[in-house]
Symmetry: C2
Subunit: 160 residues, 2 copies
C-alpha cells in the first residue's frame, strides 16, 4: 500500500494561484510519485488521461511550485534532466546513475547537518540538496528501489 502526500494544491491556493484541472492533475501525480520525477516523466503520466496537456504547462506548474517552496529541485540523476523533490522532510536521496531514479533514505544525521548550516549562515536557507550517486537494483517499482549492495547495474558515469 502506497502512502500519499498532500498539500500541493493547498499550497497553491494559499499562495493565491488559481486552480485548474491541469494543475490539480499535476499536483496529484506529484504527490503519488516517490521516484522524484522529471518534467517529461510527469507530462507523460498526466497526458495519458489529459490528452490536451502541454509540456509547457508542466514546466510552468513545476516552476510555480518551486517558487512557493512547495517542491524543490534535486538536479540531475546522471540523465542531464532535472528531478523534483516533493518530500519536504530532511532526508538523504540516493540516485541511480543507470536507471536515473532517486530514492529516499531516512537519516538521523541529516538533522545535525542542517543545524550546522543554520548555524553557519543564519535562518535564510532557501533549500537543500543531499544526493548520493550509485547503482541500484533494477526494479520496476520505485518503492522497491532499495539500493541493495547485491547485483547492481554494470557501470555508470557521474556527469551532471
Amino acid at each position: 500500500m502506497v502512502k500519499k502526500r498532500a498539500g500541493l494544491v493547498e499550497a497553491l491556493k494559499e499562495a493565491g494561484f488559481r486552480m485548474t484541472p491541469q494543475r490539480t492533475a499535476i499536483c496529484e501525480a506529484l504527490s503519488t510519485r516517490f521516484d522524484h520525477p522529471t518534467a517529461q516523466s510527469l507530462y507523460e503520466q498526466v497526458k495519458a488521461e489529459y490528452s490536451s496537456l502541454s509540456l509547457t504547462t508542466v514546466y510552468q506548474t513545476l516552476d510555480t511550485l518551486l517558487r512557493i517552496g512547495a517542491i524543490t529541485s534535486l538536479g540531475s540523476a546522471g540523465d542531464d534532466t532535472i528531478h523534483f523533490e516533493v518530500n519536504t522532510d530532511p532526508h538523504i536521496n540516493l540516485a541511480c546513475l543507470t536507471c536515473h531514479r532517486i530514492c529516499d533514505l531516512n537519516s538521523t544525521a541529516i538533522k545535525a547537518l542542517e543545524a550546522e548550516v543554520q548555524q553557519a549562515i543564519g535562518s535564510k536557507v532557501l533549500s537543500g540538496r543531499v544526493v548520493y550517486y550509485s547503482e541500484c537494483l533494477e526494479q520496476s517499482d520505485p518503492l522497491d528501489c532499495q539500493f541493495n549492495p547485491a547485483s547492481r547495474h554494470k557501470e555508470g558515469r557521474v556527469d551532471e
Copy 2:
C-alpha cells in the same frame, strides 16, 4: 595567502592519460579555484594565457577528470550551469543563488551522514552532492564568501 590543492595532474598520469599543456593548465586553474567553477569560467581563465584553447577541450578535460573520479559535479547554483567540485574531503557546500558561487563549509555531521549511506547501499557510492542554497554577502574574493547572515542579496529563485 591561498592554499593550493594538488593531485589532478598526477591523477591523470596514473590513469594513463597523456599530458598536454592544455590539460596541465586546466588542472592548475582548477586546483587554485575555491568557488567551484563552471566550464565557461575555467575556459575564460585559462584562455587568458592560452589563446588557442577551445571550450570543447575544457569540457573534455573536465569529463575525463570526472570519469577517473578526480573531481565531481555539484550541478547548478541557480544559473543552470554545472559547477565542479575539486575538494574531495567530505564537506557541505553553500551555494549563493545570486552570485552563483559555492563555498565550502566544514562539517562533522557529514561523516555520520556518509556512514549512513555506506550502510544503506554498501561501498559502491560513486559520488555525493551536499549543497544548501541561500544568499551570501557579495564579496569579490571567493575565500571571503562567508555566508554571513547580515546584508545578503535581495532575492533569489530556486530553480535548477
